[in-house]
């Protein structure tokens, strides 16, 4: 068997093994590329509303808070509350939190939901598990280099690395270099 056949076999089997990892890192790569636009781990929504007839601070308790939740027609579940500031009441919910300015009556509901799939892939991409996962993801990283390198030699002829492939490869190297020249060097 010649070298090209071995390259194809190893490229194929390595690709099978690390298909899942490519999906994990691809998805989380997209998510983490847009950190300025969104929180990739949680869906966080905000809703403002007003609270009236606020009693004295000492009289604010669970019952009053439950009446506020009911009055604002919020589909949330009370957990606990405390005063984070002299005039700021923070109510913890199972779904998030409500912050109330007890002077002005302005309130804001923050609801938090885990973002499925992205939370999990980001957890892995950030190497949060550490230990054995670090080894496995390092092996994956090396395999990506292997896959990229062997991919150059999969095809012979004018569509391979000696033909059109050379130009496409060069383009893929030049683009990141341009960004480095512009933004870093």
């Amino acid at each position: 068997m010649n070298i090209r056949n071995w390259i194809r076999i190893l490229h194929r089997d390595t690709g099978y093994i690390f298909f899942g990892m490519c999906i994990v890192y691809g998805l989380s790569g997209i998510a983490l590329n847009h950190l300025d636009d969104w929180n990739p781990d949680y869906v966080i929504t905000h809703k403002s509303f007003s609270v009236s007839d606020i009693p004295d601070k000492d009289a604010i308790g669970k019952d009053w808070i439950l009446s506020v939740i009911s009055g604002a027609d919020l589909d949330v579940n009370y957990r606990s509350h405390y005063f984070s500031g002299a005039n700021t009441l923070k109510v913890f919910l199972k779904e998030g939190a409500i912050t109330v300015d007890i002077k002005s009556g302005e309130a804001q509901l923050e609801q938090i939901k885990r973002r499925p799939v992205f939370r999990e892939v980001n957890f892995l991409h950030y190497n949060k598990p550490k230990k054995l996962w670090t080894w496995f993801s390092d092996i994956f990283a090396v395999s990506l280099i292997f896959l990229a390198s062997t991919g150059l030699f999969m095809v012979k002829g004018k569509k391979g690395i000696t033909g059109r492939g050379a130009w496409l490869t060069l383009l893929g190297i030049i683009i990141p270099l341009i960004f480095l020249f512009i933004y870093l060097w």
Binding site: D41, Y42, Y82, F92, K94, A97, I112, R114, L132
Partner: protein, 188 residues
Amino acid sequence: MKRLIFIISVLLFINYSCSYLSRKSSGENSALNLSELTTDNFSDKIADNVGKEVTISGRVTHVCRRSGQRLFITGEDSSKTIRVTTGENIPVFDITLEGNMITVRGIVKELIIDEAYLAEWEAEVTDGAAEENKGHEDGLDEHQKEESEGSGTDPLASIQKLREDIAASGKDHLSDYWIETLEFSIVE
């Protein structure tokens, strides 16, 4: 394939055992080092407990949205909050912990903020590296730095303020304390 699955299972078992043994060894020492702290007496007793294993309970008021690497707990006196960071066995804190009462077993850590620390921070700011290195790994909390750097306050002014605080303290440094988690549990 069966051999591969067997090898992976062994490796996972070894990984879990190492984690268990490190947790267990901490537990064996805990009988010697555990001290009861509360969020209210934390600031008074903390200096004596640096490097020691402590147990403390409090209500989670905030979990870092960006990294999930730190949270804050408070007690009866809500003006006093304690920063708790993840540890080797705790990769991340879930935001949904906010509002829960938790009990944390961890190691008390201290960062000494002295002229050397401030000079290094100042050099980062003036070299323009502050953006890339925002928040030291184990130093001044990212929230604290972001409060000064991200809220429009000049970081150099914050550094100068810290220098003034050090001078006013009568000592050659300030101390920042936090707890690095070994394990935690939700009480309610």
